[in-house]
């Protein structure tokens, strides 16, 4: 089946003008072509199948928003191909627009002074959503997002959480198969975040909506994403699922075991001993080097095991390691083009 989002060797180069000081210099600047080239996106390729939820990560300035803008038709790539729902956002912007929903976390898409309901009605008119469809959509959104409570409140009076819910409803009103979310949970409290995530999982499960979300919130990743793309310095440095993410980052998995009695020393094996406190031992090991099973078996040779507790490395630290390039050698697995982890 054809992937619903395809990017091939996407490149985006900007020409940044020299900073101008003073009126005369500014006028001169209008006529000169000085500046330097900034390559925001440098040969990014990926394919996303319909019905997946994919996280798109990267430090600020890495090329995240530039990529998203090229996928949504806002920017035109300098070179490379992109297809969303089989269409080119560059050549068929308006057609692609019908098939996508976009939520910018920081800015609302709604009419500022009008009640939410009016915004939805206006969008319905824009997207050729019939009145009956609109009514049933509002009912559905009330069930899942509870927007009924503030349908008649002007958008500027909404709290951040309410506004985000309204924006999501607005983005999904025309039932697009693809949704782009830019930092959808930023600034929200814990409960609100959980509700948004629950909603996103729900529409993905029941309607197969493909979701591409950029975020800095690791919990978003953990709770939503089956796959993660990491971009840094304009290049894709990782493309795979969460497990591979942890493994490739070379972040150690940690096991804490409790023996019946203090174990025989020394505790040597394919691990680093983190702590030994009476009968409790904590070791850290590299999952790519040996399996958890091996480690537990080896540990069992030093005494009778009573209890085992395993914890995965924090996604936070995993991502950080990828950003800073501190990964295991050959960490860039699953990519069509090997990229440097600089």
């Amino acid at each position: 089946m054809q992937p619903i989002i395809e990017a091939h060797e996407l490149r985006k180069r900007f020409r940044v003008a020299r900073a101008r000081r003073g009126l005369l210099d500014t006028v001169r600047g209008l006529f000169s072509n000085e500046g330097r080239d900034v390559i925001a996106v440098d040969g990014v390729s990926f394919a996303i199948d319909e019905g997946s939820i994919v996280g798109y990560l990267g430090p600020n300035g890495a090329g995240k928003s530039t990529t998203i803008k090229m996928l949504t038709g806002i920017l035109h790539p300098t070179s490379g191909e992109v297809r969303v729902a089989g269409l080119s956002p560059q050549r068929r912007r308006k057609d692609v627009a019908r098939k996508i929903g976009v939520v910018f976390g920081q800015r609302t898409q709604l009419w500022w002074d009008l009640p939410v309901r009016d915004s939805l009605e206006l969008l319905a008119a824009m997207y050729h959503v019939s009145r009956t469809e609109l009514q049933s959509a509002i009912r559905a959104f009330d069930e899942t997002l509870e927007i009924g409570a503030f349908l008649d409140v002007p958008v500027r009076k909404l709290s951040l959480g309410q506004r985000m819910r309204a924006d999501l409803a607005a983005a999904l009103l025309h039932r697009p198969p693809v949704v782009f979310l830019d930092e959808p949970t930023i600034g929200l409290d814990v409960v609100a975040k959980a509700n948004i995530r629950r909603f996103l999982r729900e529409i993905n499960r029941t309607r197969g909506v493909t979701i591409l979300l950029t975020t800095h919130d690791m919990d978003d990743i953990q709770h939503l994403c089956s796959r993660v793309l990491v971009i840094n310095h304009g290049r894709l440095v990782f493309d795979g699922d969460l497990d591979r993410l942890r493994a490739s980052a070379g972040a150690p998995t940690v096991i804490t075991v409790e023996y019946a009695a203090p174990p025989v020393q020394p505790l040597t094996g394919p691990w680093t001993l983190v702590k030994l406190d009476g009968p409790t031992a904590t070791v850290a090991f590299d999952r790519t080097a040996c399996t958890a099973g091996d480690v537990i078996n080896r540990l069992g040779q030093f005494g009778e095991l009573r209890d085992i507790h395993m914890s995965e490395p924090e996604i936070e630290s995993v991502i950080e390691r990828i950003y800073t390039g501190a990964g295991a050698p050959g960490a860039t697995t699953g990519l069509p083009v090997p990229g440097p982890t600089d």
Partner: protein, 264 residues
């Protein structure tokens, strides 16, 4: 047509929103009205002492005033977002226009209406009527000619609209196009309230070509009052309006292409 449905919805929604703040709406409309009224009253005061300006009487100038105000007010009513467009570029909100399945200009115009400005059009109509009825009675004008002028007032709205569109398009290059507006809109429109013959030749040429506000009112009125012009003077205004609109829209599309490429 879908665009009409969108607009009808926008008008009713805007009306409802404005009515929530009845007091503000009324006071603001009232103050706007005062300002406009003072403008014309001052003219009347001056013309009590100086009965003619370049051979034009108060009632004749009143026609110019009325038509200019109608055109400008209608434009301000329907295109406030265009008037303040550089805000979109400064705040990075142009993106939100690009993700809709419509031409960006349509999306922009559908964001807001400034219904209180319609008062300006009504006042313009009042001044126009005050002047026209006097000229009708004195035989300077006929009913058919007045009807033509009314029609041209409405098509004349396209000229400030086109000027605004071109100015807004400049923000794709220079960001703060609002500073340009004094030169491309406020000054020319003010000048268009008076007979163009008072201005030096170069300014007359400018206001008949690059900033063609002369075609909102002066060109047709001049002809119908037998002060100059030819039969073309009745045909050229809508033609010039259309040409301006096409030129301005082309500039807008050019700017849009630039935005796709540079992102700012």
């Amino acid at each position: 047509m879908a665009a009409l449905r969108l607009y009808a919805q926008l008008v009713s929604a805007s009306l409802r929103a404005q009515m929530q703040y009845k007091i503000d709406f009324i006071v603001s409309t009232f103050l706007d009205a005062i300002f406009q009224a003072v403008d014309f009253v001052l003219l009347a005061a001056i013309m009590l002492r100086f009965p003619e300006i370049a051979g034009w009487t108060l009632y004749e100038i009143g026609l110019l005033y009325g038509m200019s105000w109608i055109a400008m007010s209608l434009y301000r009513t329907f295109a406030p977002e265009l008037h303040n467009f550089d805000r979109y570029i400064v705040q990075g909100n142009f993106d939100s226009l690009l993700i809709r399945p419509w031409p960006t200009l349509m999306v922009l115009l559908s964001r807001n209406l400034e219904l209180r400005k319609i008062g300006g059009a009504l006042q313009g109509a009042l001044v126009f009527w005050f002047s026209a009825s006097h000229l009708l009675r004195s035989g300077r004008l006929e009913w058919g000619e007045v009807a033509i002028l009314i029609g041209l007032s409405v098509t004349g709205t396209l000229i400030p609209f086109a000027l605004s569109l071109a100015t807004a398009a400049c923000s794709f290059w220079i960001v703060r196009s609002g500073d340009l507006q004094t030169f491309t809109m406020y000054a020319p429109i003010t000048a268009s309230q008076y007979p163009l013959s008072v201005f030096p030749g170069w300014l007359r040429a400018l206001l008949s070509s690059v900033l063609p506000v002369a075609f909102i009112n002066y060109v047709p009125v001049q002809y119908l009052l037998e002060k100059g012009g030819s039969a073309w003077s009745l045909v050229s205004p809508p033609v010039v309006s259309a040409l301006c609109l096409i030129a301005a829209y082309s500039l807008w599309r050019l700017g849009e292409r630039r935005y796709h490429s540079t992102g700012t």
